[in-house]
């Protein structure tokens, strides 16, 4: 009786923050947990209205109908589809071309579904009596232009039969939540794999976003990853077993996602990717230029870097282009960002030897040179870089500490604990607002804009230090005949012969 009477009232109790109201004989509302009586009183008219049986029954029927309308049956793959959709939209808003979302990612997704027999086949491996999958109401395209076998999407009331257990126990919001993970392992979709799929699509479109950038965007919440279920529409309730698919407690590591990329490429049997040409941002010369700017190294270094690329044959198309079927045996890793970084390090070693004595000698020469000549000194670079790095690490630590992993829509693992989880969430939010008020912090701080660069070099107030991009490397070079050579003659590796300067 009490639930009906207090049905409309969902305010948390001021003392204990739980929502568990009852109505006393006098008509007063009291909290069943802490017995706190509040001022709200059940009006006589309401009670009278509700006491007649017809009203009561219509009330309950209306509420159930409303709840049923809000709920709809969905399967886990649909959830992942939403995730990918939102991730793609975020990337597009960051500046990626829209082709990425509408054509490439979408097609990759369909290819994946077909390859793993989850959709677009005559006999999809879904559970129960669901015939076809993929609700495309939020994506406007229909699958006509592809040469895949497809079934027209059917949407209607599907019978809800839980696999195995009786129909009364609801273990997940989706229809195949408990059985999705029982597929052949290696085929099913996980949250890290959404990132992998996004990266593959980005690679196809040859955008300049590397895998480490993608992971950074996910951690900074520019890319929806951490609490994606907040983006789901209201009708799709994430509950019980679904949580294991959509709940993330950490950003996956680079190697983990890299492995997923290779796995997906294998599953989807992807053809050779579009070649990485020198004008593409992922080409070692351009990517390393980006890193040189980031590291505050002089632009002249790029000239030497290109020489190294040429000598090491790293600019060959075959090596740069991603082709799963033709990958060289023995190399399982394929990362543009790591390659670019390696190139920079090798170039620096060739120029400065970096054996903890030669580079300081060279910097001393540069330091004593005429300041107008703007000579690059490694010692000076080291001090400025070190300062900026220390501050950046502190910022990062603060960011890690303040990162919020739990969302305002808590993951509910079972019906029994639902009230507990909701109550805890309320307590947490309440305490957070109180402490924030205490410190006078603005409740919503301005989110930072996503950027490829972490450091800002220049003369402005926000900069991390003076810019060294325009400095010259003359002190490190010697003129012999018409060409310039490195001042450092020896290779740093003790076992290798001294390299002949060319």
């Amino acid at each position: 009786m009490d639930e009906e009477l207090t049905d409309g009232y969902h305010e948390p109790c001021p003392q204990c923050l739980s929502v568990d109201w009852g109505v006393s004989d006098a008509g007063q509302f009291f909290c069943r947990f802490c017995h706190n009586v509040i001022e709200r009183v059940l009006l006589y008219e309401d009670a009278e209205l509700l006491s007649t049986s017809s009203r009561v029954s219509s009330l309950s029927r209306a509420s159930i109908k409303k709840r049923r309308e809000l709920h709809r049956n969905w399967i886990v793959i649909e959830g992942f589809q939403f995730v990918l959709l939102h991730q793609a939209e975020a990337l597009v808003s960051m500046g990626v071309c829209s082709q990425f979302k509408d054509d490439i990612l979408y097609n990759f997704w369909k290819r994946y579904l077909q390859a793993t027999n989850q959709a677009y086949t005559r006999a999809p491996l879904c559970y129960g009596e669901v015939e076809a999958v993929s609700d495309f109401t939020s994506e406007s395209e229909c699958p006509s232009e592809l040469s895949f076998q497809s079934e027209p999407s059917l949407r209607g009331r599907r019978k809800r039969t839980a696999s195995g257990s009786s129909g009364s126990v609801v273990s997940s919001g989706s229809m195949d939540g408990s059985s999705y993970s029982k597929r052949k392992s290696g085929d099913f979709m996980t949250m890290p794999r959404t990132l992998a799929l996004c990266y593959l699509a980005l690679l196809w479109v040859r955008e300049g976003i590397t895998l480490s950038d993608l992971l950074r965007f996910a951690s900074e919440k520019h890319l929806p990853y951490i609490n994606v279920h907040e983006y789901f529409p209201e009708e799709m309730t994430v509950f019980g077993r679904d949580c294991q698919y959509f709940k993330v407690e950490s950003i996956p590591s680079y190697s983990h996602v890299h492995k997923d990329i290779l796995k997906l490429a294998r599953i989807m049997k992807l053809p050779a990717f579009p070649p990485v040409t020198p004008d593409c941002l992922l080409h070692p010369s351009l990517l390393s230029l980006r890193y040189l700017v980031e590291l505050n190294l002089p632009d002249e270094l790029h000239h030497w870097l290109c020489k190294v690329i040429k000598q090491a044959n790293m600019a060959e198309q075959a090596l740069l282009t991603f082709d799963y079927s033709k990958r060289p045996i023995g190399t399982s890793h394929f990362s543009y960002d790591l390659q670019a970084c390696a190139l920079i390090i090798v170039t620096m070693k060739l120029l400065f030897r970096l054996d903890d004595s030669k580079e300081w000698k060279l910097s001393k020469i540069a330091d004593f040179a005429d300041p107008d000549a703007k000579q690059y000194s490694l010692a000076f670079w080291h001090t400025t870089m070190h300062k900026a790095l220390v501050l950046a690490r502190k910022r990062e630590k603060l960011h890690t500490a303040n990162q919020q992993w739990k969302s305002s829509k808590p993951f509910i693992l079972s019906e029994r604990n639902k009230s507990v989880f909701l109550k805890r969430r309320r307590v947490v939010e309440y305490l957070q607002t109180r402490f924030q008020k205490l410190s006078g912090q603005a409740v919503e701080t301005e989110p930072t804009k996503p950027s490829s660069f972490i450091f800002l070099w220049g003369d402005g107030e926000d900069s991390d230090g003076p810019s060294l991009h325009c400095q010259k490397l003359d002190c490190n070079l010697k003129k012999r005949r018409q060409t310039q050579l490195c001042a450092n003659k020896k290779y740093w590796h003790p076992l290798l012969r001294p390299c002949n300067p060319t």
Partner: protein, 473 residues
């Protein structure tokens, strides 16, 4: 005890044996050394408990070393930690640093980010989180410049209901806080709410806590009574406030009576009850309470009980034999108690021979303690007893203690120390020693030398004399 227990302070981990341990110092309403409550987490060992890496930011290596969490490939022994756990442990580390450096604003901001730990799915971590947030949160609120009383109240109310095991402890903490900020009635109300609370089966820890809560309820009622009493005595007679005062007395006496029936160490509670009873002139009741507290075998042995009883009897001019009885028991318990000299005085007063011998043993026992070694009064008492008893009787006692006393009191080192401290002491000691031992030069000559030096050099005497004393030897 500060409510909430500060990070670097004391006792939240002591054992609760039969009841509640309390120290004897108790001013009315002033500094109350509260009971030491057993807690599930040892706050003193915060690093071990919370798995903080103690990171020294001043150490340069910290920044030059590769970050261990990042280098998963190179350091396979690093345990895999989820991003959520890493966030919360970093947050806790930063909170700890901010608190130790008294940066309360920063600590409050970080604390609001730390709240997500309450939603951790692992039960043990969530339990720990509740405890951490409670203790650190109260500490931050106490020191934060913008914190008001209502912030405290809201905080306590919310955190109380997060997990049921902590409810009683946090209620007690809340009421201590209210008590120390002067809101006695609110504190009393909190405690009575806590008393009526019940959830499932009560564990033994919770039963103990309930006893404590009950006791403090009574104590708070006493404190309110006391404040009303002082107000009433100052202002004119107002029957309304008097009536309130009496009602609080009744409540307090009922509660305290129940509490004092249970075995335990209840020093401040006993004193408060006795004071109230004395005010209402119910001396028999007071005496019976004190006697029960001192003599009941179920209660743990507590010298303070005898002290209280003795002082009560003294205040109300009880016959001397009663006082002597109690002091006798006290002497067996604590031979170095400050009341021992009084005991001696009483014994000397009676003049009976047996009593004098008893007094001799009492004083000699007393002087064997370091705290009494250089006490002039004690030595004077000893001399007086010796005079009354005569040498013959004292010699027996002296023979048994001679070896100990010569090395304990009468070496040249002691001579120098005593002379520096007070000349009178030296004289008294020499007066004691001369009839007992002939030709014992060590002490007397050394003392004499020092005195001479002191006399010669005046105020600069002792430093020089200490040196020369050594040299001459």
């Amino acid at each position: 005890m500060q409510p909430g227990g500060s990070v670097d302070s004391v006792p939240l981990d002591a054992d609760v044996s039969t009841g509640v341990e309390e120290t004897a110092s108790n001013e009315k309403g002033g500094s109350v050394n509260g009971p030491e409550i057993r807690s599930t987490c040892n706050m003193d060992d915060i690093e071990a408990e919370f798995h903080c890496h103690v990171v020294d930011e001043n150490n340069e290596d910290y920044y030059n070393k590769p970050d261990p969490i990042r280098c998963k490939r190179y350091n396979a022994q690093m345990p895999k930690e989820s991003g959520f756990r890493r966030s919360t442990s970093t947050c806790l580390e930063l909170i700890r640093n901010a608190m130790l450096r008294h940066r309360w604003q920063e600590a409050a901001e970080l604390m609001s980010s730390y709240m997500q730990m309450l939603e951790d799915t692992s039960v043990s971590k969530q339990l720990m989180a509740c405890e951490i947030i409670w203790r650190l949160g109260t500490e931050i609120l106490q020191h934060h410049p913008n914190a008001k009383q209502e912030d405290f109240d809201m905080f306590y109310q919310s955190i109380k209901n997060v997990r049921v095991n902590n409810y009683l402890k946090i209620s007690l903490d809340h009421s201590f806080h209210l008590m120390l900020t002067g809101h006695m009635e609110d504190a009393c109300r909190q405690l009575s709410n806590a008393q009526n609370w019940r959830y499932g089966n009560l564990s033994s820890v919770q039963l103990n806590l309930k006893k404590v809560i009950h006791a403090y309820c009574g104590y708070l009622q006493y404190l309110i009574w006391y404040s009303k009493k002082s107000k009433a005595s100052g202002a004119e007679n107002d029957s309304g406030s008097d009536h309130e005062m009496h009602s609080y007395f009744r409540q307090a006496s009922v509660t305290l009576q129940e509490v004092l029936e249970q075995p335990g160490v209840w020093d401040p509670f006993v004193l408060s009850y006795v004071e109230m009873l004395e005010f209402y002139n119910d001396l028999e009741k007071a005496e019976s309470v004190l006697k029960n507290y001192a003599y009941n075998e179920r209660f743990p042995v507590n010298p303070n009980a005898y002290v209280y009883l003795y002082e009560f009897l003294k205040r109300h001019d009880a016959p001397q034999n009663k006082q002597l009885e109690i002091l006798k028991i006290l002497q067996t318990l604590v031979p170095s108690h400050e009341l021992m000299l009084e005991y001696c005085n009483i014994l000397l007063g009676t003049g009976l021979h047996d009593d004098l011998r008893k007094a001799l043993t009492v004083v000699m026992d007393l002087l064997e303690y370091t705290s009494w070694k250089q006490n002039v009064d004690a030595w004077e008492h000893l001399n007086e007893i010796m005079e009354h008893l005569g040498n013959g009787h004292c010699l027996g006692e002296w023979e048994s203690r001679k070896n100990l006393w010569l090395s304990l009191h009468f070496t040249s080192y002691h001579a120098r120390k005593d002379a520096i401290l007070s000349v009178k002491l030296v004289d008294v000691k020499i007066k004691f020693l001369t009839p007992l031992i002939k030709n014992y030069q060590e002490y007397t000559t050394a003392a004499y030398r020092v005195k001479k030096r002191k006399g010669k050099n005046g105020s600069q005497g002792y430093k020089a004399s200490a040196n020369t004393g050594k040299k001459k030897k």
